[in-house]
Amino acid sequence: MVHLKRLVYSLPVALVLFATVFPYLWILLASFKRHEDLFSRPVRWLFQPTVESYVAIFDKGFDLFLLNSVIVGVSSTVLCLTIGTFAAYGFSRYKIPAGNHLFFYILATRLGPPIAYALPMYLIFDRIGIANSYLGVALAHATFNLVLVVWMMKSFFDDIPREVEEAAFLDGCGPFRVFFKIALPMTYSGLAAVTIFVLIFSWNELLFALILTGGENRTLTAMIPSLVGHPKGLWPQVAAACMIQSVPVLVFIFFVQRYLVSGLTFGAVKG
């Protein structure tokens, strides 16, 4: 009886697990298949694995696009963490005139459809000459990630007991010292999580990358779909590129599991 009950409980979980994991597993397998193995009818479950697709896409210059994604991700992360952390501390600790409006405006930049900001950004970046550069797309990525940094960091600062900083003030520390020596270090684990989320969201982003990068500045996500357009021989390479893009994400996400709910709802829900 106990066994039967356990089976009834675990069967739906197993089904859900299969439905979520199998499609990803399938493309993982595809990346190690030869073209004939992937497109055989009926499906060939046993095959000789090969890494030729991985070699092939690096020969195609995907190392450059990978590097571009890293450059864009890191620079947009540094930018929006710096700006956002200061702002979050300001929001948390001080009365900001019209602060609520500003706080809301920052949210609006994330909730609007990116295309509504992408074209206007393109128009102005084109005029000042930073369209098709790392800077343009890094600025764009920093924009929609700003709300995540500000909202999450504000909640971390809010959680710090006020007394600690007050004591430091009484000891004669200025606000800069209090911020850098006391408040900021107390949020380090949260800050690390926010950093990882911002990196991942930039790394995964497509629309801004399509519009604001071109040629040698293309990022990985913008390049992968271009492989599909080729005659059907390239699918194992598409799969390999998908793996190179997604495996780092899964590794990083594993470390910030505790903050996953917060990160995915930019701090609106606490995990």
Binding site: Y9, T20, R93, L123, R162, F176, I211, Q245, L264, V269
Partner: protein, 299 residues
């Protein structure tokens, strides 16, 4: 919770400026300036040929054409609305069911949760490509299975308007159901155990507990999840771009792909700017709604 005591603004003026000035300057550059440029361009006729000349002033014609006569805009709007109305309830009930099921202690729970989150955390482009491969005519794994059952023998999933839209919906449901599950599970885990225990001792059934205790306590998170999913589903772009490109014809054209096509394929930039401003305005209203709810929860 006691409201946080805040320092008087006047006493720490310099530091407050250091905190807020960068964000203000940044927003001016990446939000205010582009919106202004878009406003200026939206009242002009700008195409690729007249790009350098900055276009001829045509008043509100772009907006008038868009809102009164552009059938493609309304078609795209209708597809987006249909898409949201179908996928969000499915993702919600699916997510709720899984959250309720997983909300117990068992071995390997952490690992299972990690694996279930894969669709949500990987790039939407990759999600699109996974499903494109599945639905590939003749050779895709799902197409082969469907062929076996007698479907799609002579046609592809993406060559008929209805099935193309359904395929898009399937990929979205696969991607986002875990996200809804995660939010609701966070609520269920944080829920006080005492009322549920008390109800159980009083002989309440599981359904009673769910309906009278768990759902009411979850309500704020349910609203957040539904709002966020509706807003994000209405912005679907990546998987449409990868899976159907808006086709066949314009049968899976969404608001976002319509805006993208107008601006970056037809290079009708003045018109595109008008589309973007309309979208930005609508989303501002939705954002205001979300803000109210989110602030209510945090308090």
């Amino acid at each position: 919770m006691e409201r946080l005591r805040k320092i008087d603004f006047a006493s720490e003026k310099t530091f407050v400026w250091v905190c807020m000035l960068p964000v203000l300057a940044f927003l001016a550059l990446v939000a205010v300036a582009p919106t202004t440029v878009a406003l200026i361009d939206s009242v002009r006729h700008i195409s690729l040929t007249s790009f350098a000349a900055r276009g001829e002033f045509i008043g509100l014609d772009n907006f008038r054409d868009l809102l009164s006569t552009d059938e493609k805009f309304y078609t795209a709007f209708w597809h987006t609305a249909l898409f949201v109305v179908v996928v969000v309830p499915i993702e919600f009930f699916g997510g709720l069911a899984i959250a309720l099921w997983i909300n117990r202690e068992f071995r390997g729970r952490r690992l299972i949760l990690t694996l279930i989150m894969i669709p949500t955390v990987i790039a939407p482009v990759v999600v699109g490509l996974i499903w494109l491969l599945f639905f590939l005519p003749s050779f895709g794994l799902l197409t082969q299975s469907l062929n076996y059952l007698g479907f799609f023998r002579n046609t592809g999933v993406f060559s008929s308007p209805e099935t193309a839209l359904v395929a898009l919906m399937i990929s979205d449901i696969w991607e986002w159901t875990p996200f809804v599950m995660l939010i609701l599970l966070a609520g269920l885990t944080a829920m006080p155990k005492a009322p549920i225990e008390a109800a159980r001792l009083d002989g309440a059934s599981r359904a009673d507990i769910l309906w009278h205790i768990q759902i009411p306590l979850l309500k704020p998170l349910i609203i957040i999840a539904l709002l966020l999913r509706s807003i994000d589903a209405s912005k679907i772009f990546d998987s449409v771009y990868v899976l159907t490109g808006g086709g066949p014809g314009d049968s899976t054209e969404m608001i976002t792909t319509f805006a993208h096509r107008t601006s970056f394929m037809s290079w009708n930039l003045g018109y595109g700017a008008a589309v973007c401003l309309v979208l930005a305005f609508v989303s501002l209203v939705l954002a205001a709604l979300f803000y109210k709810v989110a602030m209510g929860i945090q308090r």
